[in-house]
Symmetry: C2
Subunit: 147 residues, 2 copies
Amino acid sequence: MNDPQKGPVFTDIVLEVFKLGGLLVSEGDHMGEEYGITSARWKVLGALSLAGKPQTVPQIARSMGLTRQAVQRLVDAMREDELLCFQNNPDHKRAKLICLSALGETVFSKLSEKQSGWAMECSTGITKAELETTLSVLKRISESFER
Amino acid sequence: MNDPQKGPVFTDIVLEVFKLGGLLVSEGDHMGEEYGITSARWKVLGALSLAGKPQTVPQIARSMGLTRQAVQRLVDAMREDELLCFQNNPDHKRAKLICLSALGETVFSKLSEKQSGWAMECSTGITKAELETTLSVLKRISESFER
DNA sequence: CTTGTTTTGACAACATGTTGACATAATGAG
DNA sequence: CTCATTATGTCAACATGTTGTCAAAACAAG
C-alpha cells in the first residue's frame, strides 16, 4: 500500500489529466459548435438544468467550482445570445436569478442526447469496472485537495 | 462490456477530469510559488529537461501538445526571468535553440524533489493497482481523440 | 436602529490557452 | 536555379480562467 512506486504513477496521472482535459474541451467545443456553444457555456447550462430552478450567479459559480466573476462573464454573454434570461430576485435587489430560456433548454437537451451517444462510443474497449475505478480514484484525489 | 450504464460513468469521469485539472493547476502554481514559477512554466522546464538537449519553440510545443504561439509567449517571459537562455541555431537562422539556464535547472530539480514527495502523499489511501488502472484508462481515452 | 461583516455586481489587470494573418527563412520539386 | 510549399517568429483578437478592488445591498449582533 505504501509502495514507493506509486509516486511516479501518480505523476503520470497528473500529466494525463492535463492532456485529457485539453482534448475534452476541444471535443466539447466541437460538439457544441453547431449550436453556437462552447464547453464553458455548456457547463453553465448543465448547472442550471441540474439545479432545476433559477439560480444566482454566485450559486452557479459555487456549484461549478469557478469564481463568480468567471461565471458572470459567461452568463452575461449567454444572455446576449438568448440562451439565458434574467429574473428579478424578490429576495435580493442586486442578485438576479438566472434561468434557461426556451432556446437554452432546447440546445441543452439536444447536446445531452449527442453527448450520451458520444460517451457510449468513447467507452468501447473499457470495462465498466475500469471506468468505475477511474472515477473513484479521480474523486478521491479531488477531495484530498478540497479541504 | 457494452453495458449501457457505461455512458453515464464516462460522463462523470469527464466532469471530474475538468474539476481535477483546475485543482491540480492550483496545486502546481502553489508549489512553484516560492520559485516564482507557475504550472505552465514548470511544464516548459519539464519538456526541456526531458529532451536532454536544447530545443526550438515548435519542438517544445509539439512535445507539450500546445501551439507554438502559446509556448513562444511562455519562453519569452521565462527568458526575461533568467530561467531559460537562447542559443543561435546553426541549422536555422530564425529558430533559436532554447535551453535551461543554471537557474532553470536548479529550480526544476528542486521542484521535482518537492513534487515527488507531494505525489507520494497524494497517493496514500489509493492502491498501486487502482492508480495503474486509472492511468491506463485515461491514456486509452486520450488516444482515442488523437487520431 | 446602528454598526460591522458578508455577499454581490462591476471593473480592471493578468495568465494561459486558442485562431488567424503576415513576412521571412528553409526546403524540396522541377 | 527557380518556384511553390512548409516552418518559423511575430502580432493581434478572442475565450476562459484567476486575483484584486470598490461600492452597494443584505444580514447579524448589540
